[in-house]
């Protein structure tokens, strides 16, 4: 799979040892354990596998996980574009601080985010106390799951759109204005189209992250089977009941979804690279 280096570069030392070390380490830590997971499901019969991944409780968890992840990623596209736009185009006090702060969901441990969100949106919490009289239940409802997933995916769209927005040619915008386009038309027809690949990439990254998210969700969701139980939590529940085969079967379904998304994101990034180069 890995052939030798081409001749003109072999003057630099250390190729074999660094490549061999990388491949062995990758194999031991990542590839063999992942392969073991697929091997474990191979020991199940096909009907048993199908039953494990399509029982009503599991299907309900897919609906919740995929549904809330999709909505959260969409919310992040809208507000991520807005935040990126404001950070690139406008000047306001504390902008550098705000810019750095956007990455908080990457840096804050998910369990900390989880208990903080649960405290805020609980019945007597800072925000929950105003939602409750309106009849809106946030904590222990799918809305709580959505809030946690929106938090966790927030930086992705901002960070994929921001550099593209910074590199947009001002000439195009000026040309559009000089040809009589309104500001809104300029935005919609000239500024927005070059941002599509990065918006889509940010969406896919936020969606992929949300699918697997666990720590920030479990405290606010209440974890009621059929109602607010996300798929990663169901895997843990099955493990705690010593249903290893059931847990692994669901994990394989999630892994296949994640790998498909990873492939899609790689293709997207190639596409957007071509678009910025072309």
């Amino acid at each position: 799979m890995f052939a030798l280096a081409s001749k003109e570069q072999s003057a630099l030392p250390g190729f074999r040892v660094t490549l061999a070390y990388s491949v062995v380490y990758l194999g031991l830590i990542v590839l063999i354990p992942l392969a073991a997971t697929f091997l474990k499901t191979a020991s199940m019969t096909w009907p048993a596998f199908v039953e494990a991944v399509t029982s009503p409780r599991v299907l309900a968890s897919y609906r919740l996980t995929f549904g809330t992840s999709l909505i959260a990623a969409t919310v992040n596209v809208v507000f991520g574009l807005l935040v990126a736009w404001v950070l690139v185009r406008y000047r306001f006090p504390g902008k550098k601080f705000v810019d750095a702060f956007v990455d908080l969901p990457f840096a804050l441990p998910t369990a900390v985010a989880g208990i903080a969100l649960a405290a805020i949106y609980a019945k007597n919490g800072w925000i929950g106390q105003f939602m409750d009289p309106l009849g809106i239940k946030t904590a222990f409802s799918p809305l709580g799951v959505l809030i946690a997933l929106t938090f966790i995916g927030l930086p992705f769209v901002v960070r994929t759109v921001q550099p593209v927005l910074e590199d947009l040619e001002p000439e195009l915008e000026e040309a559009a204005v000089s040809l009589g386009a309104s500001r809104w038309e300029t935005f919609r027809r000239v500024l927005l189209p070059p941002l599509y690949p990065s918006l889509l990439t940010g969406f896919a990254l936020a969606f992929a992250r949300a699918l697997g998210e666990y720590g920030s969700v479990v405290f606010i969701s209440g974890n009621m089977p059929m109602k607010t139980e996300i798929t990663p939590l169901l895997i843990i529940t099955k493990l705690e009941q010593y249903d290893y085969a059931g847990a692994t079967a669901i994990a394989v379904v999630m892994l296949i979804a994640s790998f498909a998304l990873l492939l899609f994101i790689n293709l997207l990034q190639k596409w957007s690279l071509q678009k910025t180069r072309g």
């Binding site: 630099l12 030392p13 956007v102 908080l104 992929a208 994990a251």
Partner: protein, 290 residues
């Protein structure tokens, strides 16, 4: 995928004049700030408010608890093992990938990114399936009295897995952009391979390296899902700080839970601060060396 998006090596561009009317600028800026305030600032403020709800005394009391001290010690231990291992791997992998051409290179790059695509829960599960009592090598481990899962080695392994790509994905594009010319010059002048790496390559990649390490460290200390699956939650033994937070929270010991959480939040804030410093540095370096 689940990690940070690198903001290094991004050229800064001059700000262009905006054509938007004042009311549009104000509305958009305030909406964006309100959104960020609601989703980022309020949760962070809640952590510290809840932690200090009963005053400073109970806050510091939370850190005197032996289980809390054990959790802090374990978290530091895990990070001290996992971060250097991934650092060495990151440097080795990026040296091979950035400095040489070989078949299967893009496959290797994709495989390195794989752990970011895997749910934290599954990152823990794979080690349970391998090393657990019912796992592939579980019986052999039991015969030899070695425990990996529900013990510290399992926690370390799961942490290495979830932080696997951080250093490598930072260094690969950086070293690719820098090319091999300086290394060739050093070798021609008679430097050994190791000298070339230490005196030429390392100074060139130090900020990228540092950037990768702080992100890797933040995730290593804060990981919850993966560690939760492999730890077994034995108090004082296999509880890391995030797991300790969970236990305290589920026992309704909110002040202590948020006190430990506030320590992790401080770590996050330090990480963000260091991150912006490195980003500012690498921009200024880039403008000096075109």
């Amino acid at each position: 995928m689940a990690g940070a998006i690198s903001r290094l090596n991004r050229p800064t561009t001059a700000r262009r004049p905006t054509h938007d009317p004042v009311w549009v600028r104000w509305t958009l800026t305030l909406t964006a700030l309100a959104f960020l305030g609601l989703f980022l600032f309020v949760p962070l403020a809640a952590v510290f408010t809840e932690a200090l709800r009963r005053g400073v005394g109970p806050y510091f009391e939370a850190f005197r608890n032996p289980d809390a001290i054990a959790a802090i010690t374990l978290t530091l231990t895990v990070a001290v093992i996992a971060v250097p291992l991934n650092l060495v791997f990151g440097v080795a992998a990026s040296w091979a990938i950035a400095k040489f051409n070989f078949l299967g290179k893009s496959v290797l790059i994709t495989l390195i990114d794989l752990p970011f695509a895997v749910s934290p829960v599954i990152s823990g599960l794979i080690y349970v399936l391998l090393f657990g009592a019912q796992g592939l090598v579980g019986p052999w481990l039991q015969d030899h009295d070695i425990s990996i899962v529900f013990a510290v080695p399992g926690i370390v392994l799961a942490t290495i897995f979830v932080t696997f790509p951080f250093v490598a994905r930072e260094l690969i594009p950086l070293m690719q952009a820098q090319g091999n010319d300086e290394e060739f010059a050093a070798l021609t002048l008679g430097a050994s391979g190791w000298q070339t790496f230490r005196r030429v390559t390392l100074p060139n990649i130090k900020w990228g390296l540092f950037y990768g390490v702080i992100l890797c460290n933040a995730r290593a200390m804060g990981e919850f899902g993966a560690v939760s699956v492999v730890s077994g939650h034995i108090r004082g033994q296999t509880n890391t700080m995030p797991l300790h937070v969970e236990i305290l929270y589920n026992e309704y010991n909110f002040v202590a839970a948020f006190a430990v959480a506030s320590l992790l939040s401080l770590l996050a804030l330090v990480t963000l601060a260091l991150k912006s410093i490195v980003e500012a540095r690498s921009h200024s370096i880039q403008t000096v060396q075109p």
